[in-house]
């Protein structure tokens, strides 16, 4: 038994096996789980977390962490909705700039990236631990969101924008398409480019990476920029799904995202992990959320169960590392 569990193929796909067992378990308890509507619901609901988490994976692979993604999501969501609805008004110049749906989305993504780059700049320039730098950004971005929205949701953003969150293309919900595209881009980046290899190198041994001539700061800056941009994509998805930007959107999403990364087998100490693992992690969380509600488990127990699953994932991961 022990030998078979240590088989490299099983180790590699342990989160997939966990997901399979979870699905099996829930479908035994509820016949509503394995229906196409429900499974599409799950995938649509996790699409936001998937976007954030693939960005987070890159950060964690470098042994960093980004606590600000939820707040960046909130801020970019508000700005996207605000630009779409009210445009930009420069009163002093008597100038009004209107935004199309695409324009507002691009602006939100750029701002997300800028905030992420700022994170990266603080971390590299002042050698501040990522935990602290991004914790500061968590508060700053949330505060800016409150300032921008004055604490009030920005709603009714038009059917075109709503399509992004609620529409279907070729029988697949649009948010699922978008998250899929984001995943493919980041998978390509990590597996097929030198940029990806450098990320693993930095996470594995930063000193060695530095000595072998990798410009660490540039890579870090880019990775935090990507994480910020991914958060903005998540923000666009949430906003269009609700057809409304909520001032508290994205609150504590960073925790779900870190959970997805960890459950997916990425080591918080960096260097080890995959983007696809994170996607499976996000699916596990989504399936778990879905199953607990389908079975009408008390909300009190749901939190306990979710915590236990995260714990189990990390323990299994640790045991595997020891076995190596």
């Amino acid at each position: 038994m022990n030998i078979s569990l240590n088989h490299p193929l099983i180790k590699k796909s342990q989160s997939l096996i966990a997901l399979f067992i979870l699905c099996l378990f829930i479908s035994l308890l509820s016949d509503k789980f394995m229906t196409s509507t429900n499974l599409w619901n799950v995938l649509r609901q996790i699409s936001v977390n998937v976007c954030i988490s693939v960005g987070m994976t890159l950060v964690v692979l470098m042994a960093g962490i980004d606590l600000s993604v939820g707040s960046i999501l909130g801020l970019t969501a508000a700005i996207c909705a605000g630009l779409l609805k009210n445009g930009l008004v420069f009163e002093s110049m008597n100038l009004f700039v209107g935004f199309t749906v695409l324009g507002a989305i691009l602006a939100a993504m750029l701002i997300g990236m800028a905030l992420g780059l700022f994170n990266g700049w603080v971390i590299t320039k002042f050698a501040i631990p990522p935990f602290v730098a991004t914790l500061a950004m968590l508060t700053i971005a949330r505060g800016l969101t409150m300032l921008y929205t004055e604490g009030i949701p920005i709603s009714n953003l038009g059917p075109e924008f709503e399509f992004i969150g609620s529409g279907w293309i070729l029988g697949i919900p649009v948010p699922v398409w978008i998250s899929l595209i984001m995943v493919l881009i980041v998978v390509f980046l990590t597996n097929k480019t030198t940029f990806g290899r450098f990320i693993y190198a930095i996470g594995g041994n930063e000193r060695a990476a530095f000595l072998s001539g990798i410009s660490i700061n540039k890579i870090k800056l880019t990775v935090y920029g990507i994480a910020g941009m991914m958060a903005a994509v998540g923000g666009v998805l949430v906003t269009s799904r609700l057809n409304s930007a909520q001032p508290n959107a994205g609150m504590s999403y960073e925790l779900d995202s870190i959970a997805a990364v960890v459950i997916g087998g990425t080591s918080l100490s960096g260097g080890v992990g995959t983007v696809t693992g994170t996607v499976i992690g996000a699916v596990i969380i989504g399936v778990l959320n879905n199953g607990l509600v389908l079975l009408d488990v008390s909300p009190f127990w749901q939190q306990v169960v979710k915590g236990i699953v995260i714990l189990l994932a990390v323990i299994i991961d640790k045991m595997n590392q020891k076995n190596k």
């Binding site: 509820s30 509507t37 009030i152 949701p153 409304s244 959107a249 879905n290 509600v293 079975l295």
Partner: protein
């Protein structure tokens, strides 16, 4: 070295000028301490309290307790030491906030509670309260009437650690549970959040495709429920009930897409609290301990008044 010198000078300056500015200015200062600013409803409560205080000629400042009695406690300590003269409080917790209010009382600062109650009769000077429980009793009565005493329904709770969640749920169930043909098929939390409520209801509808009604612990969640029902093509036959009286839900009631909500009056509560503080400064000392501000049921019958 330079840094040391600079900070020494700064420290001296603080001592010299910091003390001199301690002189009481003419205007009494009123602090508005609110449980959270992450929810539009509370933002409105806090801002109208501050505005009303300023209108009466006082200096007013808003403090955010971030839904945390410990943060509230810090706020109170800071307020007491920086010489505020009255506190308009929206408490974080009915028990957890008592000690904070007592601290202010000991320091001789009157506290006027708004919206949420604290479970003590001798701590706050007066409490101007929104009656969540009886508000949801009215919702419950409307609910029973609309459903003609039978059907399957879903309840979407607010934050499960929040006392308003349970006051609302309790008021609702005190009526609805008397009708055995009204069956609650699922009770889940939507965290007072529009997105969460939408996702939760999407999932619940998979397990229970035939529901007749949804009761939501606040209006943000009622909007989320509406969206979930609308994308499932069921908005026309599932009756939605909310609570708060938020603008977008009022619109939906007008369009007959949401059945009813409980209208709370944050502006009235804020105004009364500021008014009481003003009277306190002018010498009044006897206030009613609890001033209930009724929650009004809004439905198709009276929507034209809103």
């Amino acid at each position: 070295m330079k840094v040391k010198q600079f900070s020494l000078i700064l420290l001296t300056l603080v001592f010299v000028f910091g003390c001199s500015s301690n002189d009481k200015s003419e205007k009494p200062k009123i602090a508005v301490v609110v449980s959270t600013l992450n929810n539009p409803w509370f933002v409105m409560l806090a801002e109208s309290a501050a505005k009303n205080a300023e209108k009466l000629g006082y200096e007013a400042k808003i403090f955010d307790s971030q839904n945390n009695p410990a943060v509230e406690s810090d706020n109170f300590e800071n307020l007491i030491s920086s010489g505020y003269d009255a506190i308009l409080l929206n408490p974080t917790d009915s028990d957890g906030s008592i000690s904070n209010v007592l601290k202010a009382k000991t320091a001789g600062i009157p506290v006027f509670c708004m919206d949420r109650e604290i479970n003590a009769d001798d701590a706050a000077t007066s409490q101007i309260l929104s009656d969540n429980y009886s508000g949801c009793v009215s919702i419950g009565i409307e609910f029973v009437k609309e459903l003609k005493e039978k059907g399957n329904y879903v309840e979407i709770l607010g934050l499960v650690g929040d006392n308003n969640t349970w006051a609302r749920s309790g008021g609702f169930h005190s009526v609805v549970d008397k009708f055995p043909n009204l069956k609650m098929v699922a009770q889940q939390s939507g965290n007072f959040d529009r997105n969460k409520a939408m996702e939760v209801l999407e999932t619940i509808m998979q397990a229970n495709p035939d529901i007749d009604a949804v009761f939501c612990g606040n209006d943000a969640m009622a909007m989320g429920a509406f969206q979930a029902l609308q994308s499932a093509g069921k908005a026309y036959k599932v009756k939605i009930f909310g609570f708060d009286g938020a603008g977008d839900v009022i619109e939906k009631i007008r369009e007959k897409k949401i059945v009813a909500t409980g209208m709370q009056f944050p502006v009235v509560m804020a105004q009364t609290a500021a008014q009481y503080a003003d009277e306190y400064f002018k010498g009044r000392r006897i206030f009613p301990q609890r001033v209930p501000v009724e929650v009004e049921l809004v439905n198709a019958a009276n929507i034209k008044d809103y």
